[in-house]
Amino acid sequence: MKYSYFPGCSLKGLGRAYEESLLPVMKHLGVDLQELDDWNCCGATAYMSVDEAKACVLASRNLALAERDGNHPILAPCSACYLVLNKTKHYLHQYPKMKATVDRALNAVGMKCEKDVPVRHPLDVLINDIGLDAIKMKVTKPLQGLKVAPYYGCQIVRPYATFDDQANPTTMDRLLEALGATVIRWPLKTKCCGGSLTGTIPEAGIRMVYILLNEAKKRGADCLATVCPLCQFNLDGYHSAVRRQYGDVLLPTVYFSQLMGLAFGLPDRDLALNRAAIPFRWRPSSPPPAPAKPPAAKSVAA
């Protein structure tokens, strides 16, 4: 199956590690990703709250591009992109006035947005299109012994819980288990990471970062696994501020795609693990623990 890959600004900037790990992993799984030609801002955050109509126009231009380029489902790894593109689709369905505004704008540049291109999240594609069985087949270095706290953030389950449960998402849990990791059960999977508060009202934002790091650590996690560039940035980048206010809670935050790459045995340099502020040093022990007896017998024969 083919997908139109929509990186958005984050995956080309702060969230580069996400793209740099996701693309090799998807390639390794044989997924055909075609980056959307001439994509533009998804219209997230500030734009959406200042002028919804303009944000929708921006987002729908991307939908129109995907429609033009073969109408393949859009793969939107960034949570904000995923939310805004889905929100735009929802608005176009629900509000004829919004649809008219968007149509006018797209018309002016000879484009149209009519075909209802699906907007998919990598977790959705991995679990529902590729399937855990196919993923397990690719695991050469199981993440045995690694304790991961799966952290979904807010935007992929609220308000549009399209592929997972709103209150208790489990797709990443299942994925990580398939990779051989131990999944930490914790109730803060979808609690706010502080979002843009870290920039606007730092004391509130930092507190939220602390709550997540502290709780994951308390429950024995070796790292947090995330799906969102903003979450990763918040949870990775504010450790010194957290330390000043609450004390040390050092805990690395990685993208689920990086963990997939490790389990697939992809080289470190393909996974951008060096980009994080808090280094993630854990590595799976190469070759997987094989059954003890047969190799022993072999060596005797040799």
Binding site: A167, W186, P187, I211, E215
Partner: protein, 664 residues
């Protein structure tokens, strides 16, 4: 009376139904218009046609104006056709010279434009006038009622209904699919609002049922087939193998002690999985019948065939254990039935935010019923799954009720049972109890008083729908506890309340297999899956299938007093039919016009009741009137038009079609 030779004299009546019809339909105009139609001898409007004076009017007019047909335009025929047929008959006419027009449910209540509604009423009235001209005098068929009754479901509803009828001298079959009767009520500790012990009320009734000479009690059995019709049902009942010869077992339970499993090891269904049982067990001490059962899923001998069978040794010459038992079937004949198959409780896992199945100290209310019960798994000691005595307990109301994401209905019993459990838990533990509610609903005798009592006792009530139950501690006080996060809508802020134990007041739902049961008994269901009563006020325990009644939680959420009242009502309906001895059947059966039948046999396979046979000597199809249920499928399919359905003859329907279209 041979009306064909007589001049037609139709009497027409349009009912105002107070304002129900008259507010939307210009009744005077309808009466005027119908009065101009051919053969209409008289056309009147009246405020309440179904009232005594209204019926009297029809009777009087039949006599004085020599009417030979009657049409009433009022409500739905499903409501009052019977009434007006009665009035027509009382006036001296055959009741089937009457026809009814529905201008309330199908007209005044669903339209707003007075002009349009009036036009529609005229069109429908005209159709009836044209139709009634073709009506024929028909005889009502009387069917004898078999005096035996079947009650399906041995909860408190089934028990009460069975007892009522058995005490009246009727032979009752009570079929229950579990190994014992008692239903949900047997699991309860106390009942609200009187706090009398559930077992003390129920178990004497249960053993009475077990010993009643007029009751045949079949537990661990299910109805698999229902044939026939009111008065003459043929029912097949399947008995599942319990690997115990019921007549031989004396309930000594020595086999249980002797089982190769020295300690109980398997999840005990009766105790909601809070306790353990052996493969051979009795659900609870007062189970009726007092007979053990062997669970084939866990019994070593039934699973592997390799077991010392110490149970058989213990049973010795009573020889009540029989590992070779198979399913058996009984076929019974009954005249009437009561379906009292109950409800199931909402699966709390469907609201993941409350952590049921994730946090061990989150309980359902039914589990807590067992926990506080003296004969429960802990002997009535409230001790949580992780072994502590709770100091604070939160009870969350409306779990799976009044919620668009799960079930929209109010489950009616949860407010009261939550408050009952609050009181019992307080008595047992002395803990602080918090109730989280949306609204407290106490519509019952003594219920509001019970609520007031709780307020006096210092039970906390926090108004707000709980957002989540979490083990994430924000403060040291929350450490090691479950924190309930809720918007207190009276205080106006979000609160976090740490507790040791959470009780989820799960709502009531239709049984998992309600749809199968519905089809088996030919019942109707509401959109939610509860069995539908024929009329919520006029026929609350009747169904759309004659002779089959419903009672208890299968019809909708209800508490024990209402359930018992309803079971009594259903029993009375059965008794009324049985004691009358016969039932009158709508004469809408079909018959073949032998002289026109070509003998093509295409109707024969169409009849679902095998009522049509081919007469070899005359080479025509013949319909057995006793078997025909009057659907009319054969009539519509007969290529030569030689089958006639009484009350729905071709001429009658064709004239009705022309009639509704005659008016522009």
């Amino acid at each position: 009376m041979n009306s064909n030779r007589e001049e037609l004299r139709i009497g027409f009546y349009v009912c105002h139904c107070g304002h129900n019809i008259a507010a939307t339909v210009d009744c005077a105009e309808v009466a005027r218009y119908v009065g101009t139609l051919p053969h209409v001898a008289l056309s009147r409007e009246y405020k309440y046609m179904c009232s005594d004076p209204g019926q009297e009017l029809i009777q009087q007019d039949i006599r004085e104006h020599k009417l030979n047909r009657v049409v009433v335009a009022s409500c739905s025929p499903l409501l009052h056709e019977h009434t007006f047929r009665g009035a027509t008959e009382a006036g001296g006419l055959n009741p089937f010279y009457f026809h009814m027009v529905n201008i309330r449910e199908h007209n005044s209540w669903v339209h707003t434009d007075r002009k349009e509604a009036t036009e529609k009423a005229k069109a429908l009235a005209q159709a009836a006038i044209e139709r009634v001209a073709h009506h024929k005098a028909l005889e009502v068929k009387r069917v004898k009622i078999h005096a035996d009754v079947l009650v399906v479901g041995g909860g408190i509803a089934g028990i009460h209904a069975a007892m009522t009828m058995a005490n009246a001298g009727k032979k009752v079959y009570l079929v229950e699919r579990e190994p014992t009767i008692g239903g949900h009520m047997a699991k309860f500790d106390k009942t609200f609002p009187t706090l009398d012990c559930a077992a003390c009320i129920l178990t004497p009734k249960m053993s009475e049922v077990g010993n009643h000479p007029n009751i045949t009690l079949w537990t661990y059995s299910e109805v698999t087939k229902v044939d026939g019709y009111v008065g003459n049902y043929k029912v097949t009942v399947k008995h599942k193998p319990r690997y115990i010869v019921e007549d031989a077992c004396v309930g000594c339970m020595e086999c249980i002690d002797a089982c190769v499993y020295k300690t109980p090891k398997f999840e005990d269904e009766f105790n909601e999985g809070l306790g353990k049982r052996k493969p051979v067990f009795i659900p609870f001490p007062q189970a009726t019948p007092q007979v053990v059962i062997i669970d084939p899923e866990t019994c070593l001998n039934l699973k592997t065939g390799k077991c010392k069978k110490t149970c058989v040794e213990a049973c010795a010459d009573r020889m009540a254990i029989d590992f070779t038992q198979q399913e058996t079937f009984d076929e019974i004949e009954v005249g009437t039935m009561i379906v009292a198959t109950g409800f199931k409780t909402f699966d709390a896992k469907r609201v993941p935010a409350y952590g049921y199945g994730v946090y061990p100290n989150v309980y359902t209310a039914l589990e807590v019923e067992r926990l506080v019960n003296a004969s429960g798994p802990t002997g009535g000691e409230v001790i949580t799954r992780d072994g502590r005595h709770p100091k604070s307990i939160g009870i969350i109301h409306c779990v799976g009720s009044r919620d668009k994401k799960t079930n929209v209905w109010c489950s009616r019993v949860c407010c009261m049972y939550s408050m009952k459990l609050a009181l019992l838990l307080k008595e047992h533990t002395g803990a602080e109890i918090y109730n989280f509610y949306i609204d407290i609903r106490t519509p019952g005798k003594g219920y509001e008083e019970f609520y007031n009592k709780l307020l006096d006792e210092g039970v906390h009530f926090i108004r707000g729908r709980v957002g989540e139950v979490t083990d994430w501690a924000m403060t040291p006080e929350e450490e090691g506890k479950l924190t309930i996060r809720v918007e207190d809508t009276l205080a106006g802020y979000v609160r976090r309340i740490p507790v040791d134990m959470v009780v989820l007041a799960t709502g009531l739902e239709p049984q998992q297999d309600a749809q199968d049961v519905r089809r088996l008994f030919n019942l109707s269901c509401g959109g939610e899956g509860w069995f539908l009563e024929r009329h919520p006020k006029l026929a609350p325990v009747s169904t759309f299938t004659d002779g089959i009644f419903i009672a208890g939680g299968c019809q909708g959420p209800r508490d024990i007093p209402d359930t018992v009242a309803q079971a009594g009502a259903a029993a009375a309906e059965c008794l009324a039919l049985i004691d009358k001895g016969y039932v009158e059947q709508e004469p809408n059966t079909a018959f073949v016009l032998a002289e026109e039948c070509s003998g093509c046999k295409s109707c024969i396979p169409l009849c679902p009741y095998t009522a049509i046979a081919f007469d070899e000597s005359s080479k025509v199809a013949v319909i057995n009137e006793a078997l025909c249920k009057g659907c009319g499928t054969c009539v519509a399919s007969c290529p030569s038009g030689s089958i006639v359905q009484n009350l729905f003859e071709d001429d009658e329907v064709f004239s009705e079609i022309k009639g509704v279209l005659a008016y522009d």
